[in-house]
């Protein structure tokens, strides 16, 4: 069937100045610091690992219960628990550096100063390919407005971090907005090198027995296969207004959905929630993508990107 052997297909993609060996990354918060999956996945083969969101200091996180299952999805309110940037650099990054995989540090803060603080601390760290800015966080200095919901704040935090770090900067957009294209443009204006689209949708569920929210923190972020059509739409919206590289994220559970993201214009994708229930999916997708490209007569996966036929 296949005219092309899969090894002759080039899967490499460029996210701005960052060359990734293939477009299959794993999403922040769904793959720990990589080591958690080392028994199951050859980490060195992945397109990249986006680590759990890092903050300036250790973060204790929200009270449990922190997850709730929903139809073909899940809610989480981890509360951005993490080891803090120091422990990351000392303990978590070195083993990943040995794997030779592109490591992307997802970072967050409660104020622009905190974002800048993490970014500065990570600047120059060996083995980091890029920073990914999680802007779905409330700004405690500005009445708790979510950075990612306000174009002005998005631009500000982007440009502040951009100035503080020499690393390529990916800005991860929140889908809980009226026009995601406005936020994309704001991030671009702030100097973003790429856009990660999307973070989780806001949602909640209730435990009828106790009449309490299922999550201790009432709300959480919805992820998983259920949100895929929304994510794909948002990538399409963002692609309409910018030529920045896009990382497509949301509900990937199969090669078909990876291909849909690429066709709509994502330059690479991140596998999220699926890592939890199908931990070897990311690695399998790399092989399946190579095979599919070969069968389709493509020599380079980039030939697929942005090839949506619209009428």
């Amino acid at each position: 069937m296949s005219s092309m052997s899969k090894s002759s297909v080039s899967l490499a993609v460029d996210i701005g100045s960052v060359r990734l060996q293939n477009p299959i990354l794993v999403a922040s918060g769904t793959f720990g610091y990589g080591a958690e999956f080392a028994d199951l996945v050859d980490l060195g083969r992945l397109g990249g690992i986006v680590v759990k969101g890092l903050s300036l200091h250790v973060e204790v996180g929200n009270n449990p219960p922190r997850i709730a299952e929903t139809t073909s999805g899940m809610l989480n309110s981890i509360g951005l628990q993490n080891v803090g940037v120091e422990v990351f650099l000392e303990e978590k990054l070195p083993p990943l550096q040995q794997q030779g995989v592109a490591v992307v540090a997802n970072i967050w803060g409660r104020s622009i100063e905190e974002y800048v603080g993490v970014a500065e601390r990570l600047d120059g760290a060996e083995g980091l390919a890029a920073l990914e800015l999680n802007i779905s966080c409330p700004n405690i200095k500005q009445g708790g407005i979510n950075f990612g919901k306000d174009p002005e704040l998005t631009e500000k935090v982007t440009s502040a971090v951009k100035a503080a770090s020499s690393l390529p900067l990916w800005v991860k957009l929140s889908p809980n907005v009226t026009e995601i294209s406005e936020l994309a443009l704001a991030a671009e204006a702030g100097g973003a090198d790429a856009l990660s689209v999307i973070n989780t949708l806001r949602g909640m569920t209730v435990d009828v027995g106790s009449r309490r929210p299922t999550l201790a923190s009432t709300f959480g972020g919805l992820s998983g296969p259920a949100i895929f059509p929304v994510a794909l739409y948002m990538v399409h919206e963002v692609r309409r207004v910018t030529s920045l590289p896009i990382l497509g994220i949301g509900g990937i559970d199969s090669l078909d959905r990876v291909l849909q993201f690429l066709i709509v214009g994502a330059n690479a994708v991140q596998v999220g929630t699926a890592n939890f229930y199908d931990p070897t999916l990311s690695a399998r997708l790399i092989d399946e993508l190579a095979e599919w490209c070969g069968d389709a007569g493509l020599t380079d996966v980039t030939e697929l990107i942005g090839t949506l036929r619209e009428t």
Binding site: G29, E36, P65, S72, N76, T273, Y277
Partner: protein
């Protein structure tokens, strides 16, 4: 005596496998409880008592997440080689109800072995009495522990609580193994009328002096009560916890409980630093 485990210490673990396993047999114990026997020699050969697996329940990605289940027993062929393992399951919701519908020959995707195990006494430690305290489906991990302790020549006694006689679990396992059993039921239909902690306390009062080690798994209030008993009697206690889990691998941070940490506490993962914890490390609230 067990050396006090470091908080958060991760034992040198066997590699984790992600396997498609054939269901050999499903045995119904009551309308709500059943045993699944699965293939899976790798997991069976490498697991330790107290560890668990994450298993799909059937149903085309719906429910989405796998379910954590303790390894109940290792299945062996005539030559004693591990060929598979069993799970002891209680129906509490949709996923466990779907598991109950599986048929021999069905395939489940199983990730394991996962988590910490019960810490066994160091070889050469003076003989102690090992008291296993279990409530409801918290019984699941104990037959494997009892087997391990007996193999090392320790004396083992099981304290089993249930709501009613029909729901008492693992009695056969202990009979097979020759483990002495003390029983309580909430409704008095078998054994002592009352809580499993009461028969435990009673036993501790009556027994001869000498070292003893406690292990507990069951509903939170029961484990809290066993912790209080252990503290009063100044005996070490290992507790096996449950928490909602998405990954079982330490990645999602969904399964945390509070553990002592310096002067304060921090959230630690039941799937990684647990499910077995030293009860003195747990912040019981």
């Amino acid at each position: 005596m067990l050396p006090p485990p470091e908080a958060g210490a991760i034992l040198p673990a066997m590699p984790i496998h992600d396997l498609s396993l054939v269901l050999r047999q499903l045995r119904h114990l009551s309308s709500q409880q059943f045993i699944l026997e699965l293939e899976g020699a790798e997991i069976a050969a490498e697991c330790s008592p107290g560890q668990f697996v994450m298993t799909t329940v059937g149903g085309e990605g719906n429910p989405l997440l796998r379910r954590p289940m303790a390894i109940h027993r290792v299945l062996r062929d005539e030559n004693g080689h591990a060929t598979g393992f069993s799970l002891l399951v209680e129906v509490v919701g949709r996923g466990t109800a779907m598991l109950q519908q599986r048929q021999p020959g069905d395939v489940l995707n199983v990730l394991g072995p996962l988590g910490t195990s019960f810490r066994m006494p160091e070889p050469g430690t003076p003989a102690a009495e090992h008291l296993l305290v279990m409530g409801g489906v918290g019984s699941a991990p104990f037959p494997l522990l009892a087997e391990g302790l007996l193999r090392e020549g320790h004396s083992v006694r099981a304290f089993i609580g249930a709501r009613t006689a029909d729901l008492l679990l693992c009695l056969e396992d202990y009979e097979d193994l020759g483990v002495a059993v003390e029983i309580s039921t909430d409704d008095g239909t078998r054994g002592r009328h009352g809580l499993v902690t009461e028969i435990l306390e009673h036993y501790l009062k009556e027994r001869e002096e000498g070292p003893a080690v406690l292990y507990a798994c069951g509903p939170l209030p029961m484990m809290r009560a066993v912790d209080a008993v252990a503290k009063r009697a100044d005996l070490p206690l290992q507790v096996s916890f449950e928490a909602p889990m998405a990954c079982g691998l330490g990645a999602c941070l969904s399964c945390v409980i509070k553990l002592r940490d310096g002067d304060g506490w921090s959230y630690q993962r039941v799937c990684q630093e647990g499910p077995v914890f030293d009860s003195r490390e747990v912040v019981w609230e």
